[in-house]
């Protein structure tokens, strides 16, 4: 008797050029996230990571620990972060989280950090130091959202 081979991805991604499709780690249970990142990278898919912070500053999405494990298991993965912050979070806290996220992105070699344009405008101290091009990967988002490269921050509460 042989065990069934578990295929972590449905095959529709094969219809697209390499790195056109990215898998969102938030969609899978935390215990599967690092292995899913590795499976995506092995199949020339990108790794999309939702970082979700509620009004109390609690992380509800992919955690930093999970992101670290994903990078460790998939050192060559093309990772991008999507930072989603609750409207009710104070601007200072939002700015701190943006800075921490950017620092983590820089540390892990993440390709892009995306967040709502309104959030970027609410935390100028975290964004006015931007010096690089809009995005290394060059992808963009609909009106009201923006993708930017940010400089590393000194704090890391995330």
């Amino acid at each position: 008797m042989t065990a069934a081979v578990h295929e972590p991805l449905r095959d529709w991604y094969r219809a697209y050029p390499p790195f056109t499709v990215g898998g969102s780690l938030y969609a899978v249970p935390p215990a599967h996230r690092a292995a899913t990142a590795a499976a995506l990278a092995e199949r020339d898919c990108r790794v999309h990571v939702d970082i979700i912070v509620d009004a109390a500053g609690r992380g509800l999405g992919v955690s930093r620990h999970e992101l670290d494990r994903a990078r460790a298991l998939a050192p060559g993965a093309r990772i991008d972060l999507h930072l989603i912050v609750a409207d009710a979070l104070p601007a200072a806290a939002t700015a701190e989280i943006v800075g921490a996220t950017v620092a983590t992105a820089a540390r892990l070699g993440v390709e892009a950090v995306t967040m709502d344009l309104a959030r970027i405008e609410r935390c100028p101290t975290a964004t006015t130091r931007s010096t690089g091009p809009a995005s290394r990967s060059g992808w963009s988002t609909p009106p009201g959202r923006a993708s930017r490269n940010f400089p590393p921050a000194s704090t890391d509460p995330w």
Binding site: L9, W12, Y13, T20, G22, A27, R46, H48, T141, S147
Partner: protein, 82 residues
Amino acid sequence: MFIPPGTKRSADPSMLTEVSRLAATMPTAVDGGITAPVAAQCAAQGATYIVAGRSLLTAASPAPAPAPAPAPRTETHREDLP
């Protein structure tokens, strides 16, 4: 985004026109409730990066739970007893 971030709704097909408009001028990514058919439509409209979760990752949709075992028969149901 085809759905509000962090939610698990189905993609809003009306956003496809937005993809077409944006893709005419810049590289465009789509995210949120993207299924294989919606991905194909987005690609046709010019999207260059397609983010998918539940529709792509099998770990996001584990096999359905087995049917619950029948409830144990109680003494009142033991019609098979003599």
